[in-house]
Point group: C2
Chain length 246, copies 2
């Protein structure tokens, strides 16, 4: 038995999310079935994080155990060939120690959220960004975002379906910057609550529109109450960027 | 009668190209039909350039004449609403002089060609870039590209279907640069021959792979013979960026 680690890019649009579901296609199922077609083995693929329906990945990390003797590069090429034409690509493949775990060994996760700050419909970025027509003040968003950095009870920014033991998390970084018509929000933490990034982005958009001050954002955080949330941003703009390991 | 000018973004993937065709969907037809649904008028929309099937636009310019009294902003919003869910968006709309012509008044056109220089399939950029797995030397491509800048007979880089009176054109700019895993090629000229950008990109890719020297590119140009072409790049990576007017 050999443990393989992969870096995976996917367009989340056609999937119910990373995790295998009874009621629709998932990234996990597509990859597991591609591996089965390559190796004849019925494997489980474990990812660094479970993404929601419509959320994308630039560099998800995952691992699986395979009995068949196969080179990592050949395995990657064969899986990619089997995945075609699905919008999932294995970018890297290597052998790791048998106790390396994509989820439990992961000590950091990074996301980027992409806002298209424009009025016109998105022709080239449909389902790849959140269109916000009101002019956004990215500097004000960045300044307010710093209120969320650090150790906090993020109950306000947590989905009712969150399975985390505790709403207390340390947010390492939340940076907002403008790039032309786009506003990009980068978030880094050891781990995130369910919907945390999208909920933080929704509130930061309120700040960017001038509907909320940084103090309003602070009050929402302090409320520790989901009802204090301004808005949960849609999944289209969210990308899992990378997972960090020791 | 009022003449309106538009800036248009589109994903060229589902279209046979800009121009109305008997045998398939076109960007022109979709926009003309959207305008007809808004105004009740059967109009012709003229663009700065005709793009091929699969070629995209970030900022195509076009004009049309409309009898109905309507504000440019309202017209744009109404056309965009009618275009939904097609991947075409009107970005700007204004009234122009009756002798302003999107094609004939245009004195400059700019394209960018996007190469994804990687081995893995494109999950997020499928149909939005040309995947070239061989490592490309972008500096060598840029240096060789300068041989094509200036006034030349571009017969080698011209499609057999080109309707231009002359193969002699002045290429104002051809810049190649690397951005991470991407190689971007920017081309600017008063006008281009049919397939000229894709043909230049195909030959530059040969240079980037080390299969051609700058002298080989020069020889292909000097041959003034379509048979001397290395390769015509696919349309997926090509974007019409902007049209310039006096």
């Amino acid at each position: 038995m050999t443990r393989f680690a992969f870096t995976i890019e996917f367009d989340g649009t056609p999937y119910m999310g990373w995790q295998r579901q009874g009621h629709g296609p998932s990234v996990q199922q597509s990859i597991e079935e591609a591996i089965e077609r390559v190796t004849g083995e019925n494997v489980a693929v474990h990812a660094a994080g479970r993404t929601d329906a419509g959320v994308h990945a630039l560099g998800m990390r995952a691992h699986t155990d395979i009995e068949k003797a196969i080179e990592p590069f050949r395995l990657m090429e064969a899986i990619n060939a089997q995945l075609r034409p699905e919008p999932i690509a294995i970018l890297t493949s290597e052998i790791v120690a048998n106790d390396w775990h994509a989820r439990f060994s992961c000590i950091g996760r990074e996301y980027v959220f992409r806002i298209a700050n424009r009025r016109a419909p998105l022709a080239l970025e449909a389902k790849r960004a959140w269109k916000v027509p009101q002019p956004l003040d990215a500097d004000a968003m960045h300044e307010a975002a710093q209120r969320l950095v650090g150790l906090h009870d993020f109950t306000t920014f947590r989905s009712a379906h969150c399975q985390s033991d505790s709403p207390v998390k340390t947010l390492d970084r939340l940076d907002v910057r403008r790039e032309g018509e786009h506003v990009l929000i980068e978030a880094a933490a050891r781990s995130f609550l369910h919907h945390q990034v999208r909920s933080m982005v929704g509130c930061l958009a309120f700040v960017g529109m001038g509907r909320w001050s940084a103090d309003d954002l602070q009050a929402a955080l302090d409320a520790k109450d989901r009802a204090a949330l301004a808005l949960n941003a849609p999944p289209d703009g969210l990308y899992f960027v990378r997972a960090i390991y020791p």
